[in-house]
Amino acid sequence: MKELIERYWVYFLVGQYPHGPLGGLALTLLLAASGLLLALPLGVLLGIARLSAYRWLRWPVTALVMTVRGTPLLMVVFWAYFFLPSVTGVRTNQFSTMLIALVVFDGAYLAEIVRAGILGVPKGQAEAARSLGLGVPGALRFVVLPQALRSMLPSLVNQFASSIKETSLGYIIGLQEVSFIASQINNLELTKPMPIYLMLAGTYFLLCFGLSRLAFWLDRSLGVARVSRAAAVRAT
């Protein structure tokens, strides 16, 4: 296994770069991060729409979110890869395709997280904001969303871990992310599939397990902060 690592570690980490496009682990992380960053504003918009008082907005958005959540991510990828070019006339590369699919898919899931976050802010906060004359948009912008996003932080970190796992589907459309690279290495070596795929699994494990620990720690420190401040207040 040691020689495998020595021979292929650069390829594994960055793909063919700089002699070709970026690949490997770097590509995986770049794709996951960009996907989540772009999906977040979409998720916030959809989440707010899901809670809207206006039926004409709430129903279509709910239908959209439910549809996306009822289909496999791979289906969304295939739609983006095979169908979208025939409609728009633009042939997107694998990275853009995966990015679009991830943004749409994760956006729908984030919509639910945002919705839960907004519902988690105590009702009195919105009432106080509205009593001051801030109105619903003002209340959302200055009072509810800042608190909701803060409480959503552990969920967002978990979602990032999920996004990293989701990038693996790029393999199927030939994107040179880390799983694809591992298979290429396997094709070169042919007799050592077990250690290669074990190392691939290990890489994902380190990343995702680390992130889930971070989310757990965040969740705890946010909760502890709340409890200790409340205790301090009662002591005064």
Binding site: P122, A128, R130, L132, G133, F142, P146, Q147, V233, T236
Partner: protein, 248 residues
């Protein structure tokens, strides 16, 4: 200042306010009291339309608050509302809590809003806590900031929904003091409260409610010494001698 005409409110099938017709004059301090579930908070909340009524009219400063074309946000910004749970914004400092609405709703510049907020924090005795977050303040301090936050909009009318009910006993006094000073300065105030001492000493009028109806209206002296309605008499008796044998 406030006129209620034949106001009725239902929560589903529950008749929360029954044919309420009352009025409050400018500069008056009216205390609403009564047993739980009598509709006291609801009566307060319909005044700034946190809850809506199904029939009747409400006029504030001569304006029908259900008139079409009413700018609801602007209307609300001119009524100060103080909640039982304070509802301070935890992610903002005391100063920012008070300056947010003047800036965003009344369009004040940041410096003007900050100046006004500081003045009000001084008035409630918390100028030194301007940079503190709500979590760092005691309950009494939080409620005083909440009062300052409401005052920052320079409202002609202030509504208080059981402002001291969530406070530990030793902090009730500091909040009542602020409210009393406000009353003496001429503010029109409607308070739902269980603090009978405050009602007796500071209120101009007391409204007693039960089961969605206003059963008695009297001056504090009349109400506490010579309550007319049997339910009011029962209520006061229960407060004064809670362990008395019923029926005696």
């Amino acid at each position: 200042m406030i006129v209620l005409e034949q106001v009725n409110k239902w929560f589903g099938r529950y008749h929360a306010l029954v044919d309420v017709s009352e009025s409050v004059s400018k500069g008056e301090l009216v205390v609403i009291c009564g047993p739980s579930g009598s509709g006291k908070s609801t009566l307060l909340r319909i005044l700034n339309r946190l809850e809506d009524i199904q029939s009747g009219r409400i006029l504030i400063d001569g304006q029908d608050i259900y008139a079409p074309g009413l700018d609801l946000n602007r209307f609300r910004s001119y009524i100060g509302f103080v909640f039982q749970q304070f509802n301070l914004f935890p992610h903002l400092t005391a100063l920012e809590n008070c300056s947010l609405a003047p800036m965003r709703v009344h369009g004040l510049s940041r410096s003007a809003a900050t100046t006004r907020a500081m003045e009000l924090l001084e008035r409630v005795g918390l100028a030194d806590k301007a940079g503190a977050y709500p979590a760092e303040l005691s309950g009494g301090q939080q409620q005083r900031v909440a009062i300052a936050r409401a005052l920052a909009m320079q409202p002609p009318l202030m509504l208080f929904d059981e402002p001291t009910s969530a406070l530990d006993p030793e902090m009730v006094g500091e909040v009542l003091l602020v409210m009393r000073d406000l009353a003496h300065a001429g503010m029109t105030m409607v308070c739902v409260t269980h603090e009978m001492g405050f009602a007796r000493d500071v209120a101009d009028r007391i409204l007693f409610m039960d089961a969605g109806q206003v059963l008695e209206r009297a001056s504090p002296a009349e109400f506490f010494q010579r309550p007319q309605h049997p339910r009011a008499q029962q209520f006061l008796a229960d407060i004064r001698t809670p362990f008395a044998e019923k029926g005696i």
